[in-house]
Symmetry: C2
Subunit: 349 residues, 2 copies
Amino acid sequence: MSEAEETRTEISNMGEFALIEHLTKNFQLKNDSSIKGIGDDAAVLRYIARCTVVTTDMLLEGVHFDLMYVPLKHLGYKSVIVNLSDIYAMNAIPRQLTVSIAMSNRFSVEAITEFYEGVFHACKKYNVDLVGGDTNVSLKGFVISITAIGEAEKSKITYRNGAKKNDLICVSGDLGSAYMGLQLLEREKKIFLEHPEVQPDLEQQAYIVGRQLMPDARKDIVELLDKLEIVPTSMIDISDGLSSDLLHICNQSKVGCRLYEEKIPMAEETRALAFKMGIDATTAALNGGEDYELLFTISQQDYEKIKNNPDITVIGHISDKEGGAKLVTRNNNEYDLLAQGWNAFPKSE
Amino acid sequence: MSEAEETRTEISNMGEFALIEHLTKNFQLKNDSSIKGIGDDAAVLRYIARCTVVTTDMLLEGVHFDLMYVPLKHLGYKSVIVNLSDIYAMNAIPRQLTVSIAMSNRFSVEAITEFYEGVFHACKKYNVDLVGGDTNVSLKGFVISITAIGEAEKSKITYRNGAKKNDLICVSGDLGSAYMGLQLLEREKKIFLEHPEVQPDLEQQAYIVGRQLMPDARKDIVELLDKLEIVPTSMIDISDGLSSDLLHICNQSKVGCRLYEEKIPMAEETRALAFKMGIDATTAALNGGEDYELLFTISQQDYEKIKNNPDITVIGHISDKEGGAKLVTRNNNEYDLLAQGWNAFPKSE
């Protein structure tokens, strides 16, 4: 519903170097570890006595996002968040970012500038430096590839494979809202396509729509764990859905788990909208994905440190592998957890 | 002219995790600095007392490569080389790589496996570890985004901005052959499209076609400079063409230059083919690009160390900014050097 810019400058009229200069002029290096940013064959970083943590993600129009309802500024912001979240999920602090994009000539300089404003906003909020990237033309659509780089003390890096029997399974924030936000936006898109005169009705759902369009990465949780002197035994961010991501921890740690449905934290708005739209709320939390909350395990002796924290919920515990990965429902039935989250390779129609 | 695989496995029948496992099973971590590779939220690296150097490149089908004449294995190989070349151009040693791809359902598991065989071959040859990436479906075409990471002592990192008046301008290898290779492949593609019964005639041009399809990154030059105890005053790799890349050095170093046409190193095959195809050989070297040779400046006192090296040619010298960036032709005319290399944003038709 955007693209009706007041002025439109063609990217081809600007040239690559002028465009890069234009898009990155507000970005300043803020971290001591960023020695050289954009403008050479490569960026130069320096981490003293710490490990370097690297993650990368590619996002494609029509596959990962729909510009019918995702404003470009939000897209720029969220593309960064998705990557920062992976760095936090290592119990590390992100410091640098490279952003590569390709776009067709359907996009104007003004549109790309909006995208970079979102990138800038995320970099500023999370104190991350844009140090490189690549800008390309595409034959069709918009493609984004981001690499995030961070640092951590070796002893604090948290993998997926360290969960032990009897560890507590914890999750930050609440789940399922990003998925419900997507359902709502998809519904309004459908209505808009059929009845362009009807205004979208999202005002009552600012929280849920915001969770889909402008998620946070849980920097605060990594800082809190550090303050509480907790090193989780395992950690992952919830991008594919609680089921799928908890199964990653179980598989890589060679353990089982018991996850309690009644413990899964959900916002009241999420439950209410799920009910209204006829979607099972627990399913939204288990399989929805895109919450970018942190899922982690801690040893029982750390329980006292987190038990009163409103941002962290204990949702189950780790069991031995033989017990399997189980969901215990409200009425005390047990089911195998299934990975039914995001599928990068759907069957072709 | 590929895609006629004997067996064809649909990517959608394999699933993302099985595919990644299949594609990366032969990759082993070889560098001490690679602590954790594929399989977690992020890779973990550790460089002791050295700087981290990071570069990234995105390549798109129909924009950067044409699968009509680029075999997928060569594409995988070259995609890596392009990035390693940027690390070497910092006078640094590449150690790790992330490879993200997106492909439409036109591509089979066998096709993607071929691509990764090329990636594997390059990683093995240059002793680089594949530590991460992302695998996606695209609505159309094949997209590649690679990030390369390397290390260097801080005092040896070579930027584009350090060239000083009277420094010698040096280049490795020979120039223009990759461009002539492209011309030849484009010509044969045209013939093939018009007369599919005619076999392409490339056998006599193995060197030139090889320079286009399977270029080398000049690891050997970085090692040689180290052995000779030369730290160049500036360096860049020739991806856009000698003119354009020398102008980057001049602009960033705030100097001028005099480049001598007669000194530009070119292979006999390149000159002969250029003559045959009616292309000016010097233009191929100046504006062709994709040679991935290293262009660097050294102070005059280092001249003795390199003067007899067959892999390095002195092609001119740095002058003050006021003198401008000049090409001195064989018949002693002077022209302004112009950046006419690769344009990422061609005007739409």
